[in-house]
């Protein structure tokens, strides 16, 4: 976290506040190792999978709509 506060030109206390908010939102996770606290990306990645599922679902529904239209239009064929 010390290197982050240098990077963003913030006080360590200020940075800690920001990180706490991000951590509560699930955007980062932190882990204390000795006197150093490490930050990494948090479980927000779940949203990415949710996004992919939504997109996939739309594709699937559109395909089923088109299958339905196809079956209607080819009625009477074996």
């Amino acid at each position: 976290m010390g290197s982050l506060s240098e990077h963003f030109e913030m006080t360590l206390t200020g940075l800690q506040k920001h990180v706490r908010v991000l951590e509560e939102a699930g955007l980062v996770t932190t882990e204390k190792v000795g006197r150093v606290r490490h930050c990494r990306l948090g479980p927000r990645k779940l949203e990415d999978v949710a996004k992919w599922m939504t997109a996939y679902r739309t594709l699937l529904e559109q395909r089923l709509d088109h299958l339905e239209d196809f079956l209607e239009r080819t009625k009477g064929t074996p």
Partner: protein, 161 residues
């Protein structure tokens, strides 16, 4: 066709955080529905959602490879996978992967139920990666690639169809 004019009710549910299930009734016999899903000449007429579809491979047998490329106004989008189970005309299980999200495999099971009156109920169950698998993938730096993929996917979804 407006949604109200559709001959069958369609339901989509999410039984768990990694499953999508659809259920739909088609006014066609089970044999016709199966054929529409497995005969390349027929698949080409609907799977592309109105876009040109090139069927590169469609080996409908256990272990068989399938690969379709959809040509949308913004480019080409490949989808592929392998068949895990094929039981004509009632059931198939295959993997589904989009080129834009390599490694994100969905296992898609399709069940065709003969309703006995010339109609067929089609149930699809799509199972997404386990948490462990997807976490491993995101940590290996896939997030950036995924965001780019979503932009591409949004375009695919917006394409005429």
């Amino acid at each position: 066709m407006s949604p109200a004019a559709k001959p069958s009710p369609a339901t989509v549910t999410q039984p768990s955080d990694r499953e999508v299930r659809t259920e739909r009734i088609f006014n066609a016999t089970r044999e016709r529905v199966w054929k529409a899903m497995t005969d390349p000449a027929l698949v080409a007429q609907w799977w592309g959602r109105g876009n040109t579809l090139v069927i590169e491979r469609l080996e409908v047998q256990r272990g068989g490879h399938w690969r379709f490329v959809e040509h949308t106004p913004d480019g080409q989008h490949g989808f592929e996978g392998r068949f895990r189970e094929v039981t004509p005309p009632e059931r198939m299980v295959r993997t589904f992967e989009w080129d834009g999200m390599p490694g994100h495999v969905i296992v898609e099971s399709t069940m065709l139920e003969d309703l006995g009156d010339g109609r067929t109920k089609v149930i699809t169950l799509s199972l997404f990666h386990t948490t462990e698998e997807r976490d491993g993938m995101v940590q290996s730096g896939m997030t950036e690639g995924m965001n780019q993929s979503y932009v591409a996917l949004d375009k695919v979804l917006a394409a005429p169809g």
